[in-house]
Symmetry: C2
Subunit: 434 residues, 2 copies
């Protein structure tokens, strides 16, 4: 078979990793796929650096449009990132009849509908296994492995940076700022970490998971997203004392006429499999009506870890390029005509149990007032721990029964108005995911 | 597209589950696959029972050869089990140009080479996702998701019955016989449980995993297989006290000129993800050179859980039936001409750390003799616990550094000859799997 001819946009961490793995494992990859792969051309900013990586046999250009317009490539690998130029280039590649493999979750979460529609109209493939939990073949599991199932929910830890920071906070008892600095020092967080620690990156990935799980468009801009920046060491310690761990979770759930899609920190019981996912690792759980719960675990970032997924996509492209498009796996698991456009469930209507940490006078009267206030909003709750402060107040740790978010918010307002309560109440969801 | 026409051999737990899921989720499955599926005919022993399950529209026969010879089916689903009649029927179906989907690990572990060769010669697909860790798409992950990797090892908990029994023994502190009875009462073990508890079933599955991971034939009959029948409650308790759990593991490792494939109980650190896989659940870990370690978790048995995998295979067959065979995913991950025939590494040469439980006089002299005997065979070891017995002896729990199995066995013979040592030494491997 003739080689699959690849043009690559970008030669950063992921691009260089893809080059390295393709070169190192070429023999095994051909033994598996039956078809050689050749990186024909690469578009980069720094030609000299690129030349040192790929040697002399690969065409280099600083003009990415030049690359996507080349006649001698079958597939464009987009590993440059960003959503503006990358969008234009991907659409141009599609218009030129090239297949596309991308690791760009932001691009697909924000412009997926447009890009997939263009690809279908042109009869080409846009593959994106590397965009979610890199080395874990979770897109393939959702689209193919679990194809028989009506999927009730998908949830997971899909941002390695946040998980690394929370693991540091929990294991070392340090605060967010120190843990972030550790993460930055060790290369697990960017200098500007907002994209990761505020939940945006996790929300991008969750949108792709939810679309594939439920066969519906998921409007990224409307997804409820909370990050980890307001968690304190005391919260992780209180959770631990009660038998929980705090993780940044993405949770997507199918309802009859809506989908619930949310990213936020949450308490999970310490013996829950997701609670044992530490450091920069990722894991995704999927609940199907026939399969029951399955879980997928692996690296959430890294050069060769991402390359593993990029190359898996390239092999899939090589295999199905010649197929009739109707026989290919659809871009978002469901045939495009069967994709729904379910609304997002308003957050006010979503239900969770809650962990509350309330700084309050440690007197029976004050505590009765706390619980009475919660009860007034329908929150069945119990005080599980009191951690004394020097000034005779205490952190009161309360766990509630599941309650609608709207009720919880109203209860918080009232709680914070109680004379015995100091400052803001810290509220974190408790998830069971069973 | 015309429906994929299915003939089914067997309508037991898995067959009935497949019928139920296909019927219940038909709309979603078609929305995903783009192609309807129709069970045209079923071969069963009990026609009346079958008629109650599938209703009037499906042809029923008691002659399974009649089924595989029907002209109006595209694919045969073999869910009858066994290796003699099932082998003949699968080969006949292949000879008739039918694709085959099977959940039969024994059949493929023992006759896979013959069956896959016949399928390739005839240009048909034999799919078997349901044969390993049913609902978990692990065959797909190995063959497709991790296609870029040179896989160093694959290991896991792939027998739900044994895992259920070990979980019961550990959590309730009961012995093997009582735990087995619990498992039988709750439907997690057969009346004759040998196939599961002696490791045979796990070895079947591990052979399939190893073949797909390494691209080599794995001769099932030569695989080292130990079951869980000799473990005692005291071993699980001692392991727990040292921070370990005992699991029945399958471990397959690639060496330069051989493969190591073995099934046996093993200690895993309690914080290892596999140690948290409880009850009848399964999990498989794979270490690839690019991906790093990934893990796949889910149900190891069950009617609809198995059906989930059978139907995923049916959709794959529907998609790639029209493709040129060279574009299909190879049966064992590697193109057949690229499959190796590596020898199994002799067990004597395999290396593990060991847990030893030695009943021995609890005197300094006796303990010195123990450690001296171990040292004589190159075993660096430490006594980690002493659990007194009524007669002044004690269970001595020893952990060793990694050592070749041959040396361990010689050391055990000498240990058991020491005057202070009573009876047999219990020896269980300690695995790190990192």
């Amino acid at each position: 078979m003739p080689p699959l001819r690849i043009g690559m946009l970008g030669l950063g961490t992921v691009g260089a990793g893809t080059w390295r793995v393709l070169t190192r494992n070429q023999r095994d990859i051909v033994a598996r796929s039956g078809r050689p792969m050749e990186i024909v051309a690469v578009a980069v900013r720094d030609l000299e650096r690129a030349r040192r990586i790929v040697g002399g046999a690969v065409a280099l250009t600083t003009d990415p449009f030049d690359l996507v317009n080349r006649a001698d490539i079958d597939v464009v690998v987009e590993v440059m990132g960003g959503t503006t130029l990358a969008r234009e280039l991907v659409l141009q590649a599609i218009a030129n009849g090239k297949h596309v493999v991308t690791a760009n979750k932001a691009l697909l979460a924000e412009h997926g509908a447009e890009i997939f529609a263009a690809a279908e109209a042109r009869g080409v493939i846009v593959a994106y296994e590397a965009a979610v939990a890199v080395s874990i073949p979770i897109i393939k599991a959702l689209r193919e492995g679990l194809v028989a199932n009506r999927i009730a929910w998908v949830a997971g830890i899909v941002n390695g940076t946040s998980n690394f920071i929370l693991t540091e906070m929990g294991s070392k008892g340090i605060g967010y700022a120190n843990a972030l600095k550790d993460a930055q020092d060790q290369g697990f967080a960017e200098a500007d970490p907002r994209f990761d620690v505020e939940g945006t990156d996790a929300a991008h990935k969750l949108c792709l998971l939810a679309a594939n799980a439920f066969g519906t468009q998921v409007p990224f801009a409307e997804v409820h997203t909370e990050g980890i920046t307001e968690l304190e060491a005391v919260d992780l310690a209180c959770a631990e004392a009660l038998g929980y761990r705090i993780k940044l979770l993405g949770v997507a759930r199918r309802h009859d006429h809506s989908v619930e899609v949310r990213v936020h920190p949450a308490l999970l019981r310490s013996d829950h499999l997701l609670a044992g996912v530490d450091g920069s690792m990722n894991a995704v759980m999927v609940h199907g009506d026939a399969s029951g719960t399955t879980l997928y675990y692996g690296a959430g970032a890294g050069s060769e870890q991402t390359a593993s997924a990029v190359i898996a996509d390239l092999v899939d492209v090589a295999r199905s390029a010649a197929c009739d498009p109707s026989e290919r796996v659809p871009h978002r698991a469901f045939q495009s005509h069967a994709m729904a456009d379910l609304p997002l469930r308003p957050m006010a209507d979503t239900t969770s149990a809650w962990y509350l940490r309330i700084i309050c006078s440690a007197t029976p009267t004050a505590e009765r007032a706390l619980l009475r206030t919660l009860a007034r909003f329908g929150l069945q709750a119990r005080i599980y721990g009191r951690y004394a402060q020097p000034d005779h107040s205490a952190h009161h740790v309360v766990l509630t029964q599941p309650v609608a978010y709207a009720a919880l918010r109203r209860a918080l307002v009232s709680l914070e108005q109680l004379p015995a309560v100091q400052g803001k109440v810290r509220a974190v969801r408790v998830e069971t995911l069973e």
